[in-house]
Symmetry: C2
Subunit: 330 residues, 2 copies
Amino acid sequence: MQKHTPPDLPPMKDLTTDNITDNVHTINSSCPDPRTKFLFERLVSHLHDFARETRLSIAEWEAAIKFLVDVGKISTDVRHEFILLSDVLGLSLLVDAIDHPKLPGSTEGTVLGPFHTQDAHHVDAGHHISRDPDGEPLLAVCTVKDTQGRPIPGVSVDVWETDSKGFYDVQYADRSSPDGRAILDSDSDGIVHFNAIVPVPYPIPHDGPVGQLLAKLKRHPYRPSHMHFMFKKEGYDRLITALYLRGDPYETSDAVFGVKESLVVNLSRAGDVEGLAEKYGVSPDTKLLQYDFVLNTVEEARKAREEASLQEIERQGGKLRLQDGLLIPK
Amino acid sequence: MQKHTPPDLPPMKDLTTDNITDNVHTINSSCPDPRTKFLFERLVSHLHDFARETRLSIAEWEAAIKFLVDVGKISTDVRHEFILLSDVLGLSLLVDAIDHPKLPGSTEGTVLGPFHTQDAHHVDAGHHISRDPDGEPLLAVCTVKDTQGRPIPGVSVDVWETDSKGFYDVQYADRSSPDGRAILDSDSDGIVHFNAIVPVPYPIPHDGPVGQLLAKLKRHPYRPSHMHFMFKKEGYDRLITALYLRGDPYETSDAVFGVKESLVVNLSRAGDVEGLAEKYGVSPDTKLLQYDFVLNTVEEARKAREEASLQEIERQGGKLRLQDGLLIPK
């Protein structure tokens, strides 16, 4: 039998509810990467404190293990149940907000969600991104600018939404090609325009373990009507966000905590803006989505992240420091 | 489309790193079961504090999601990777210690581990539980008593160990029937005796995601030599424990934190005890395992659990109370 040399660490024995946590930290302390070591030190502390504070029972622990196995088992390349679990616990929104602190005046981010795909087609301005004949037509005319108010041309704008029944293309077993999604480029005036359908509220997939969890917590699985956007251009911080329709019944109780006031929009009609319907070739009563997106440069985002990190270091009494933009103990 | 009525809760919007936690608590507050609500309140608080304190990055969150999916994917009825994950983080030992506070003088519990099965055969005293011809023979002669020192007859004693190569029967793809495991009954003197092989150290399964995690943390995957025991009898608290061999190279660095000083034993030889080798029909140089197990009654265990709960209530400043033996907020 191959033998591993036991680590040169203080011996552990007689583990109790009081000393187990320090002993796990000790045995993890050989980890050569300071960030990984820090993450596990905090993770183990919180996990153990959770069990101690609640006096978690074996039966509850067993139920949690079974739940986690079920979440893993149902996961596929197109069904991301662990992301969904993170979403409904508010963790996804939190991590996004931590990693993308926004400067005043720039567009806020929100959850990516589990339905973004890598196979959306790159299309020309004005493209109809939805083939659903039952959707209510929507003209989107948006701008992409920097924090100085200057248009940014050539931004890759990834857009995705459900069909009129509230399902993304990937939720259909017979999906043959992308639908309700596309990638467009902003033009020389920073304008991105396309045709779509008016978003509708829809439930997150709730026929699996996460749906059962929501039911146990007496929570509804609905997301308010929204359209997803992802903006990418060299030199700019990638922005993942979404626009929400004002007045949606689920506007203030989103199952995945994605709504921010600055991202809630009123739809108007193409005819409301002089010459717009003619310019974009739609009827005047077509619903109109207008929004001015403002991107941060990579440098602006880096600075904002650093400032937020320094605030956290101060909050924790200066016992941490930054290494490669990540917090580690001093 | 079927609509769920949004809950009658304060509206949420503009979620930030500072208010997201309270908002998740608010949306979970409709949960009718106070214990579930309490568990999720503490879980979400710890999860969010972990992300805030470490300023968890999106890339790290993505790596964690992928890891959890992989842990779920590799799990089967005989490979319990999530239990293994809980084991190597010290959580299993902790939860067991919380749920089974021991009275002075009674036998301590330890981790169940992922290799217990439900199909072990019920055998007579003296049975050879291992078919491995390469194992070093071991005679086990143990007693099962109550905290007053009285023998307890008719206790179901579930025993399991690896073969001489460090593998449990369930780790062999061609396993046809249980091996290295059996269930025996204590006799009228509270004695349980059987033949087995001397336990050897072995690595926990480390060819999956948990093994990769241990490698990243620079931890070895070994458990010191041990034999598992589970004791069950109506009226007594179920005891899950194990005995460890003194002097094992991994005695003080067990990968799953199972070793307790009171469970470490010295093996002797059958010939060391007058008449024992003859009585049990083994050669005098056969290794001998002797141990006096002491069980708690259900009532003793309930009282010990309640006392520990009351201590935790006091530690948290009296804001909790007990309901059906579990902590909930007042």
